[in-house]
């Protein structure tokens, strides 16, 4: 879908060395991780990341035997100032879009990048655009 980017999700057991193994595979494949989060649920967790080459990352990790999936998420530019997150969250809330999960990181510029997994991508894109919030596409992710 136009306006979304691909997020890579991995199933991983909650035990020492698992993240290192994943990071090592991506490092060897020269894939750069742009944003990253771990959600854990007791004995296992889901590692989520936005990378500069999602398709290659997917194939690489799958080839290593990991349970991997690709999910369409939205990446938005956020001003790295107080109220930056409020503006986006408020826009989506008022637009009736629910955020399932989100994670953010700060770029080298004055901007922050917010990765959003929402219940309705099309609706989210529309309300964000209407509020003049910048969405980030794949090319921009590569060039950060």
């Amino acid at each position: 879908m136009k306006g979304t980017i691909k997020q890579i999700s991995l199933f991983a057991e909650n035990k020492p060395g698992r993240l290192a193994k994943i990071a090592e595979s991506l490092s060897k494949a020269k894939i750069n991780i742009r944003a990253f989060t771990i959600a854990e649920a007791g004995d296992f967790g889901v590692i989520r990341m936005v990378v500069d080459d999602p398709d290659r990352a997917y194939k690489n990790l799958q080839g290593q035997g990991f349970a991997v999936s690709e999910t369409e998420v939205i990446a938005v530019q956020m001003e790295d100032v107080p109220g930056g997150l409020f503006k986006i969250a408020n826009t989506l809330g008022k637009g009736g879009v629910n955020i399932d999960y989100a994670y953010a990181f700060v770029t080298r510029s004055d901007l922050a990048l917010l990765i959003l997994r929402v219940d309705d991508n099309a609706k989210a894109i529309k309300v964000l655009k209407d509020a003049k919030i910048n969405l980030v596409d794949v090319d921009a992710i590569v060039n950060i």
């Binding site: 999700s9 889901v46 991997v68």
Partner: protein, 433 residues
């Protein structure tokens, strides 16, 4: 010495063997006439029922295995029309299909009598309040034990399983003198008593009947001491009818197996009869069953026949303690589970791979089973909630099929060891009870 059925329990061996032969001929005739699987096997071996002229001729007859019951599911081994049955019981089978057993009215009476014989043997008397903390479903330990207690004239309390605190209150308030449950549950009850501020020794219990799982001499001492009871071992299997097949007497030295109802063989790996005192697989032939007579049924249980006569005066042979299994069957909280059952359940679920590992532990005297399964990459959506749904679904399927609560842990694809043989898929860390 007092007996429930003195003429049978103390019958001289020669006379007992004559009775066995008479009844064996009847069982053999019944299966040949009414069970196609037996007729075929007899015919293939060139045998006719008339070829059974002595007890020694039993050796010529084909064996029966658990898989025969499964392959002829549900009623293929029954020797009477279903309409002549009065009750069905079933245990979960090794590959999804359960093992179904049937009883005629007379079978139920025989069973109740054998049970009453066991209870009377260890000092249970009419009027005793008898609490049965066994599962009252398809499992034979519920209704089977219950019927025996009623037959003897006890006040039967069908407590079922669970609600330990309530079980303890009933024992105390109803004046329960006899209790039946698994030995591990009895240990758990003792511990729960202490937590409730009740000294187990102050309960009215005098006799404990423990079965469905193997237990040690140490546990006997522990249970007898903490409750102030005499503890007795019970053996049975649903294919033979349920509990009541063999039982300890007050000598507490081996289990009397009722030879007027079963012919006992203990066989080595080559199918040769073991001498008394030698370990082998227990193989039983039913002599009184109408609905489901079984010839040379391989129980899978390893035991030995004891050499000497019992001072209690009963003439039936005694089986020594059970030493384990000839196959990979597991006994978990008193229930029989084959690793292949778990495999079969998982195979039907695309969310998980076919590889699994069972880890058995004992927590607070009770068995805990963890099933580790590999997450299938095809079914992985990337959402945490979906993973929890998978865990929940596997847990429910296992519960529905095995009647056991398990903890299911998802692991990464390829992380479980690839081993030959199902038993290696089980890590049993339980110490003996």
């Amino acid at each position: 010495m007092e007996y429930w059925q003195p003429e049978i329990e103390t019958m001289p061996r020669k006379q007992l063997q004559e009775l066995q032969l008479k009844r064996l001929k009847k069982s053999v005739n019944a299966v040949y006439k009414n069970v196609p699987l037996y007729r075929k096997r007899f015919d293939d071996a060139g045998l006719k029922p008339a070829d059974v002229r002595s007890l020694d001729d039993l050796k010529k007859l084909p064996f029966t295995k658990k898989s025969d019951l499964r392959d002829t599911y549900p009623f293929g081994m029954f020797a009477v029309p279903l309409q002549q049955c009065n009750r069905l019981h079933a245990s979960s089978g090794t590959s999804g299909k359960s093992t179904v057993v049937g009883y005629t009215k007379k079978d139920l009476e025989t069973w109740a009598d054998l049970m009453a014989r066991c209870f009377y043997m260890v000092g249970v008397r009419p009027g005793d309040v008898f609490q049965n903390a066994a599962n009252y479903g398809l499992f034979t330990g519920g209704l089977g034990i219950h019927a025996g207690a009623e037959r003897l004239g006890c006040v039967a309390v069908p407590a079922g399983t669970g609600s330990t605190q309530k079980q303890i209150e009933m024992i105390r308030d109803f004046g329960v003198r006899v209790m039946h449950c698994t030995p591990s549950y009895a240990l758990y009850i003792a511990e729960t008593c202490k937590k409730m501020g009740i000294e187990p020794g102050t309960l009215p219990l005098r006799i404990g009947l423990f079965g469905a799982e193997p237990w040690s001499a140490n546990t006997r001492v522990q249970l007898e001491k903490s409750f102030g009871i005499k503890a007795y071992d019970s053996y049975g299997l649903s294919e033979m009818m349920g509990p009541g097949v063999a039982f300890e007497c007050t000598e507490q030295d081996g289990l009397h197996i009722w030879e007027d109802a079963f012919i006992v063989e203990v066989l080595d790996k080559n199918g040769e009869q073991c001498a008394p005192g030698e370990k082998g697989e227990l193989v039983l032939t039913t002599l009184l069953k109408e609905a489901l007579p079984l010839i040379r049924y391989r129980t899978g249980d390893i035991t030995m026949i004891m050499k000497d006569e019992c001072p209690c005066g009963r003439t039936s042979v005694r089986l020594n303690k059970f030493y384990g299994r000839a196959d990979d069957m597991l006994i978990i909280r008193g229930l029989n589970v084959f690793p292949s059952q778990i495999e079969h359940i998982l195979m039907d679920m695309p969310e998980v791979g076919e590889y699994f590992q069972v880890v058995l532990e004992r927590v607070n005297h009770m068995d805990e089973m963890t099933v580790r399964v590999e997450m299938s990459d095809k079914a992985f959506s990337g959402e945490l909630g979906d993973l929890q749904k998978v865990t929940g679904k596997v847990t429910k399927k296992l519960k529905d099929s095995l009647n056991l609560r398990t903890k299911v842990v998802l692991v990464e694809k390829g992380s479980l060891p690839r081993v030959e043989g199902k038993s290696k898929k089980v890590i049993d860390m339980r110490t003996a009870i």
